[in-house]
C-alpha cells in the first residue's frame, strides 16, 4: 500500500516534469523542420558538388567550394563588396530619412496624415511592379532624364551604367520601405512624454542638443531595431536586383542573394550556391552578435 502511494506520487512528479516539454513540442517541431533542418542541410550540402535536378549524384569535395568562392573566382568577392555597399547605403539613408520624415510628420495635421499615407503606399506595392515602374522612370528615355533635360541638364544612364546602377537600386529600395520605417519612428516619437521636452526648454537646451541628447536616446530602442532589421533585409536583397538590373551592368549590382540564385538556376552549380548561402548566414550571424554587443549597450529601455 505504502509503496503504491509513493509510486503514484513519483509518476505525478514525472508528469509535472514532462508537461513543459509537451507544451513546447509543436513549436519545436516547426522550428526543427523549417529552420534547423534546412540550416544544417545547407551546411552539409555545401561540401558537395551536384546539379539541381540530380541531388542523388553528388560528390564530396570538402572545402573546395569555399576555396573556389573566396580565392579562385572573383565574382563572389565582388558580390560581397556590392552587398556591403548596398547595405551601408540603405541602412544609412533609411534611418536618416525615417527620422527626418518622422520629425517632420509628427504633428497631427491633415497635410501630414496625407503625406504619411503617401510615403507608406510604396510599401504596399509588389516589388515586381515597383521594379517595372522604376525601370521606366530610370530609362535613358525615361522620366528622370526628361526632367533633367527640361532643366537643360545632361541625362544620366542610371541602371545602364556600372557607375550609377548601384545608387539607383539604393534609391528604389529606400523609396520603397521609407514609409514603413517612418511609421515606426513616428509612433516612437509620439510616445516620448512632452514634459521631457518642456523640461529641456526650461533647461535652456538648444535644438541641436535637444535632438542628440534627448530625442535620439529616447528613440534608441526603435533605432536599434531598425538597424538590425534593415541590415538583415539589405543583406538578403534580391527582388530589386532581379527585376531592375539582373546583377549588371557587368557585375556592378550583383549581390549575394542574386549570386546564389544565379548559380542555382543559370549555372546549375549547387555546391557553389549552397556554400555562398552558408557564408551569407555566417556574416548575418556575426553582424547581429556584433550589433547586440557593441550597439545594444547604448540602447535605453524603459
Amino acid at each position: 500500500m505504502k509503496n503504491k502511494g509513493v509510486g503514484k506520487k513519483k509518476s505525478k512528479r514525472n508528469m509535472n516534469l514532462l508537461t513543459p516539454y509537451v507544451m513546447v513540442t509543436p513549436a519545436m517541431c516547426f522550428l526543427i523542420i523549417f529552420t534547423l533542418y534546412p540550416m544544417i542541410n545547407l551546411i552539409y550540402l555545401s561540401f558537395f558538388t551536384f546539379k539541381l535536378a540530380r541531388p542523388d549524384l553528388k560528390t564530396w569535395v570538402g572545402l573546395l567550394n569555399y576555396k573556389f568562392l573566396l580565392f579562385v573566382k572573383e565574382d563572389f568577392v565582388i558580390a560581397l563588396k556590392n552587398t556591403a555597399v548596398y547595405t551601408v547605403a540603405v541602412v544609412f539613408f533609411l534611418i536618416l530619412f525615417a527620422v527626418l520624415f518622422a520629425m517632420w510628420l509628427e504633428k497631427d495635421t491633415k497635410l501630414n496624415s496625407f503625406a504619411q499615407r503617401a510615403i507608406f503606399t510604396p510599401h504596399l506595392v509588389a516589388m515586381i511592379s515597383c521594379g517595372m515602374i522604376w525601370s521606366w522612370i530610370m530609362d535613358e528615355k525615361g522620366l528622370f532624364n526628361a526632367v533633367l533635360s527640361f532643366f537643360q541638364l545632361p541625362g544620366l544612364r542610371w541602371l545602364n551604367s556600372s557607375a550609377t546602377a548601384m545608387i539607383s537600386i539604393v534609391i528604389v529600395s529606400v523609396w520603397k520601405s521609407l514609409g514603413y520605417y517612418t511609421l515606426i519612428v513616428i509612433s516612437a516619437l509620439k510616445s516620448i512624454p512632452t514634459e521631457i521636452f518642456e523640461a529641456a526648454e526650461l533647461d535652456n537646451t538648444n535644438g541641436f542638443r535637444k535632438f542628440f541628447k534627448i530625442t535620439i536616446p529616447m528613440l534608441s530602442p526603435q533605432l536599434f531595431f531598425l538597424l538590425i532589421v534593415i541590415t538583415i533585409n539589405s543583406f538578403k536583397v534580391f527582388d530589386t536586383v532581379r527585376t531592375m538590373t539582373g546583377g549588371g551592368p557587368g557585375n556592378s549590382t550583383n549581390v549575394i542573394s542574386y549570386y546564389i540564385y544565379h548559380y542555382v538556376f543559370n549555372n546549375n552549380q549547387m555546391g557553389i550556391a549552397t556554400s555562398a548561402g552558408v557564408v551569407l548566414m555566417g556574416i548575418l550571424m556575426i553582424m547581429t552578435i556584433f550589433y547586440f554587443k557593441a550597439v545594444g549597450k547604448k540602447v535605453y529601455y524603459q
Binding site: 512624454p193 514634459e195 521631457i196 518642456e198 523640461a199 529641456a200 526648454e201 526650461l202 533647461d203 535652456n204 537646451t205 538648444n206 542638443r209 541628447k213 534627448i214 536616446p217 529616447m218 534608441s220 535605453y300 524603459q302
Partner: protein, 351 residues
C-alpha cells in the same frame, strides 16, 4: 527678481476658454500656492510663467518687464513637474548637470554645484544611477535637485508631491517649507490638495473655473472666506451651509460647533439628531440632521452616540452669512448685521 504680474490674461484651448481676463500679482520671495479642483486653470497659469504654455492674450510681467517673448530657458526660473519629467536616458548626475552644461557653466563649478545640491537633497550615493533604478521619492528629489542647481529666482512646482505616498508627502512638505526659508526665493506651487496649500503657503490663490475666488494668507482664507466656494473648499469636512429666507445662507464650520445634552445659555442654539459617528482618534466626526438639512460636526468629545438628540451651539463670531449669489455678507456690508444674527437667533432658537 520682483513680482510676477498677470495683466488681463486670457487663455483658450481650441474653442474652450479656460481663463478670462485674469489679473494677479505674485509677490517676490513668497511661497504662493495656487489651489483649486482639476481643470480650474492653476497649472495653465504656472505654465505661462514657465513660458511653455503662452497666454492667448494679455501681458505677463516680471519685475515690471514684459516677458511674453522671452524663451523658457532664459527666464531664470526652474520647474518641478508633476511626473518629474527627468531625462530617463541620463544618470542622476547627467540630469542635474544638463541645464548647467547648456548654460556653459565650467566643469569645476558644475562639479561643485552638483556635490552641494546632491548633499542637500540626499542623492550623493545615487549620482551614477539611472532614474529607472530609483524609487519614487528619489526621482522626486532628482527633479528637485535639477531645479535647485540652477539657483533660479522663481521655483515653479506642479503638484510635485502628488505621486508620493502619504508619509513621504508629509515629510517632503516640511522639507520644502524649510527649503523656501533657506533660499528666500519666489515659490509658486500648484496643488489640488487644500491641506498642502494651507500648510505650506504664505499666500493662497484659490481658483475655480479660471477665476480667482480668493487671494489671501491661509489664516484669512480659513477665518474670513470671501464666498461659499472658498468656505467649502478649505477645511475638512467643509463648512456647513444652511439656507435661510430670501436666498441668504448661513455657514458655520463643523469644528466650531459645541455639543451638549442640555440647553445652555448660548445665543445660537439648536436641537439636532445624530445619524452617524466616526471616531477619528483625537476627534470625533458626527453627521446630524438639522431641520431637514444634513450637517457635519467635528468635536473633541466622543461621548455622544448615534441616534441621540443633542443641542449644538455656536458663537456669533463663528457664524457666516452669504448672499444669494454665494458672496459673503460681512459686518460692514449691510446696514444692520445684527438683523441677520437676530434672524438666526429668532427663528432658530426654540426656547
Amino acid at each position: 527678481m520682483g513680482d510676477i504680474v498677470f495683466k488681463g490674461i486670457n487663455k483658450s484651448f481650441g474653442n474652450t476658454k479656460v481663463i478670462e481676463d485674469l489679473n494677479l500679482t505674485i509677490k517676490d520671495g513668497e511661497f504662493t500656492v495656487l489651489v483649486g479642483a482639476s481643470g480650474c486653470g492653476k497649472t495653465t497659469l504656472l505654465r505661462m510663467i514657465a513660458g511653455i504654455g503662452p497666454a492667448t492674450s494679455g501681458e505677463l510681467l516680471i519685475n515690471g518687464e514684459n516677458i511674453t517673448d522671452i524663451p523658457p530657458g532664459k527666464r531664470d526660473i526652474a520647474m518641478v513637474f508633476q511626473n518629474y519629467a527627468i531625462y530617463p536616458t541620463m544618470s542622476v548626475r547627467g540630469n542635474i548637470e544638463f541645464g548647467l552644461k547648456n548654460n556653459k557653466v565650467p566643469k569645476k563649478e558644475r562639479n561643485r554645484l552638483i556635490a552641494e545640491i546632491s548633499e542637500i537633497v540626499g542623492l550623493t550615493p545615487y549620482l551614477d544611477r539611472k532614474p529607472s533604478a530609483l524609487s519614487g521619492g528619489q526621482r522626486q528629489r532628482v527633479a528637485l535637485a535639477r531645479a535647485m542647481v540652477k539657483k533660479p529666482s522663481v521655483f515653479l512646482m506642479d503638484e510635485p508631491l502628488s505621486n508620493l505616498d502619504a508619509k513621504l508627502r508629509v515629510a517632503m512638505r516640511s522639507e520644502l517649507i524649510e527649503l523656501h526659508n533657506q533660499l528666500k526665493t519666489t515659490f509658486v506651487y500648484v496643488t489640488h490638495d487644500q491641506v498642502e496649500a494651507m500648510s505650506m503657503a504664505d499666500t493662497i490663490i484659490l481658483m475655480d473655473h479660471g477665476k480667482i475666488q480668493q487671494h489671501a494668507s491661509p489664516e484669512i482664507i480659513y477665518n474670513d472666506p470671501n464666498n461659499i466656494f472658498t468656505a467649502q473648499f478649505i477645511g475638512t469636512p467643509p463648512m456647513n451651509i444652511i439656507p435661510l429666507n430670501e436666498g441668504i445662507k448661513l455657514g458655520f464650520r463643523p469644528e466650531k460647533i459645541k455639543l451638549s445634552r442640555e440647553i445652555t445659555n448660548s445665543k445660537f442654539q439648536r436641537k439636532c439628531h445624530l445619524i452617524t459617528r466616526e471616531m477619528l482618534g483625537s476627534e470625533t466626526l458626527y453627521k446630524a440632521i438639522l431641520e431637514n438639512e444634513t450637517i457635519m460636526i467635528k468635536s473633541l468629545e466622543a461621548e455622544f452616540r448615534m441616534g441621540e438628540d443633542v443641542y449644538i451651539s455656536i458663537e456669533d463670531t463663528d457664524l457666516y452669512f452669504f448672499a444669494a449669489d454665494g458672496n459673503r455678507i460681512r459686518k460692514g456690508d449691510v446696514p444692520d448685521y445684527n438683523k441677520l444674527l437676530k434672524m438666526v437667533g429668532g427663528s432658530w432658537n426654540e426656547e
